[in-house]
C-alpha cells in the first residue's frame, strides 16, 4: 500500500487526534452541541491544518534547520499558525465571503487549537516530506471532523434524555467522550507497517 494512504488511514482512524491522542479537546467539547456547528468547526480545522502543515514544514526546513534552531520549533510554529489563521481570516473575508460566513466564527478559535500545533510538530517528529506532511495534516483534520461530528450526534441525543442531575452538562459529555474514545481504540488492530 502506498505510504500516503497508510499515513491517511493512520491519522484518521488509528491515531485519531481527538479520541486517541487527546489533542484539540477544547473545541471538541466546546462546539459539539449541534451537528451543524460541529461540521463547520471540523471543516475549518481541516482547512487550517492542511495549510499550516505545509507552511510549518517549509519554515522548519528552510529556516529552523538551516540555523540549527529545531529546539525553537514550538515557539516558531505557534507564531506561524497564529499569523496564518489571521491571514486566512482576512483573505477569506475579502475573497470568499460565502466561505467566510460558513467558517468565520470558528477560525479565530483554531488559533488556540493544540491539534493544529500537534500536527505540525508530529510532521517533523515522524520525518515526513512535504507531500506526506500535507496529507498528514489534511487527514488529521478529517479525523477531527469525524470525531466531532460523531460526538455531536451523541450529544444531541443526550440533550433529549433524562440525565441525573449531578451528571447533567459536562460530566455526561466527558463520560460519553470517553466511551467514544474507547471505541476508537478498536482501530489499533488496523495498524499497518
Amino acid at each position: 500500500m502506498p505510504t500516503i494512504l497508510i499515513i491517511a488511514i493512520n491519522a484518521i482512524l488509528i491515531e485519531n487526534f481527538v479520541l486517541v491522542k487527546f489533542l484539540g479537546i477544547c473545541p471538541f467539547l466546546g462546539v459539539s452541541k449541534k451537528t451543524d456547528t460541529a461540521i463547520g468547526m471540523g471543516c475549518a480545522v481541516i482547512f487550517t491544518m492542511t495549510l499550516s502543515s505545509a507552511l510549518t514544514w517549509a519554515v522548519n526546513r528552510f529556516i529552523l534547520e538551516q540555523f540549527h534552531l529545531q529546539y525553537m520549533q514550538t515557539v516558531a510554529f505557534i507564531l506561524v499558525i497564529a499569523a496564518l489563521v489571521q491571514f486566512i481570516e482576512m483573505a477569506l473575508q475579502k475573497l470568499m465571503p460565502a466561505l467566510y460566513q460558513a467558517l468565520g466564527i470558528y477560525l479565530p478559535l483554531i488559533t488556540t487549537n493544540c491539534a493544529v500545533l500537534g500536527s505540525a510538530l508530529l510532521n517533523i517528529q515522524n520525518g515526513y516530506n512535504f507531500i506526506e506532511s500535507v496529507v498528514f495534516g489534511f487527514s488529521a483534520g478529517v479525523g477531527f471532523l469525524l470525531a466531532i461530528v460523531l460526538f455531536s450526534g451523541v450529544r444531541e441525543r443526550i440533550a433529549a434524555c433524562d440525565i441525573p442531575k449531578p451528571f447533567q452538562g459536562f460530566p455526561i459529555a466527558l463520560i460519553s467522550a470517553a466511551l467514544l474514545s474507547l471505541a476508537f481504540m478498536g482501530f489499533q488492530g488496523l495498524k499497518l507497517g
Partner: protein
C-alpha cells in the same frame, strides 16, 4: 555558553515574526472590507439574546440586514417599539411600530380534562412521544405536555401546567421560537392587545371530540353566530378568531358551551 546561538535564535525568530507582521499589516490593507459603521450601532439597540425570532441568525445578522435595508427597522419582535425607534433614528427613517405579539397555546386539555390512553415514561421530548401514536392523550391534536417549547423559549416564559404548556405574558416577548419547537403547531402569536383565544385545535367532529376531551371545541358555531364583529369562523369543526376584526368584547367566551374560548392569563371559569 555560546552567545552567538542565542543571538541567531533571537534574530531569526524576531525576523520571522517581523515578516509575518508586515505581511499581516499589508493583508489587512489589501483585504480590508468596508463595514457599515451603523451595524454595531444598530446591534447595540437590539436585545442581544440572539433568539432568532426575526428570522436571522442572530442580533448582529439582523443589524447587518437592517443597515443594508433588507429588513425593516422594526424587524425585531422582541425589542418592540423602543428598539425600533432608536434604530429608526440611526437609519434616519420614521419608525413603523408593529403591534407586539405574544405566544398563545391553542390547547387547554389539562390532565383532568383530556382522556389518556396510556402512560408515557420515555425521554422528555414532544417529538419522541409523537412517534408513539401521537402522545398519551386520546386527542391527537392535544398538547403532549413534554415541554419542547419550554426548552426552546430563550426567555423562560413557558411552563407546563397540568400537562399543557402555559405562557407567562409578562415574560413572553413574542419571538416565536416556540412556534417552530411545537411539533403539533399548537402555538401561535396573537396581538398583545387582544385577550381572547381559542384554546383548542381539535378538527374532529363534535361527538368525537367530546369522547377524548372535556375542553375540546365541538364546532357548535355558537361563537360564530354571536360574534358582533363577525371575527370568528368555524371551519373543520373548530373556531378561529380573526384578530383584524376582533374587538375583544368577550361575548364568545361567554357563549362557548365548553368554555374553550378563554381570556389569556386567566384561569378558566370554575365549573358550576
Amino acid at each position: 555558553m555560546d552567545i552567538g546561538a542565542i543571538v541567531i535564535a533571537a534574530v531569526s525568530l524576531g525576523l520571522l515574526g517581523l515578516v509575518f507582521g508586515v505581511i499581516l499589516a499589508f493583508a489587512s490593507r489589501a483585504f480590508a472590507v468596508e463595514q457599515d459603521e451603523r451595524i454595531p450601532q444598530i446591534a447595540e439597540c437590539l436585545p442581544g439574546a440572539n433568539c432568532g425570532g426575526c428570522g436571522y441568525a442572530g442580533c448582529t445578522a439582523l443589524a447587518a440586514a437592517i443597515a443594508e435595508g433588507k429588513a425593516p427597522v422594526n424587524a425585531c419582535p422582541v425589542g418592540g417599539a423602543p428598539s425600533a425607534e432608536r434604530i429608526a433614528e440611526i437609519m434616519g427613517v420614521a419608525a413603523l411600530t408593529a403591534e407586539p405579539m405574544r405566544a398563545c397555546v391553542h390547547c387547554c386539555g389539562t390532565d383532568g380534562d383530556a382522556v389518556k390512553r396510556y402512560r408515557y415514561e420515555g425521554i422528555s421530548d414532544c417529538e419522541a412521544v409523537l412517534r408513539l401514536g401521537g402522545g398519551e392523550k386520546a386527542c391527537t391534536y392535544a398538547c403532549v405536555g413534554l415541554g419542547s417549547c419550554v426548552r426552546a423559549c430563550p426567555f423562560g416564559a413557558l411552563s407546563l401546567k397540568d400537562g399543557v404548556a402555559a405562557v407567562d405574558l409578562a415574560k413572553c416577548t413574542g419571538c416565536g421560537q416556540c412556534l417552530t419547537a411545537c411539533p403539533k403547531g399548537l402555538i401561535s402569536l396573537i396581538p398583545l392587545s387582544h385577550s381572547y383565544y381559542v384554546g383548542c385545535s381539535n378538527r374532529d367532529r363534535g361527538g368525537e371530540t367530546k369522547k377524548v376531551c372535556k375542553a375540546g371545541c365541538i364546532g357548535c358555531k355558537l361563537c360564530e353566530r354571536n360574534c358582533p364583529a363577525g371575527a370568528i369562523t368555524v371551519t373543520d369543526n373548530f373556531a378561529k378568531i380573526d384578530y383584524e376584526k376582533c374587538t375583544d368584547c368577550g361575548l364568545c367566551a361567554e357563549k362557548c358551551p365548553v368554555k374553550i374560548i378563554r381570556r389569556r392569563g386567566e384561569e378558566p371559569p370554575a365549573e358550576s
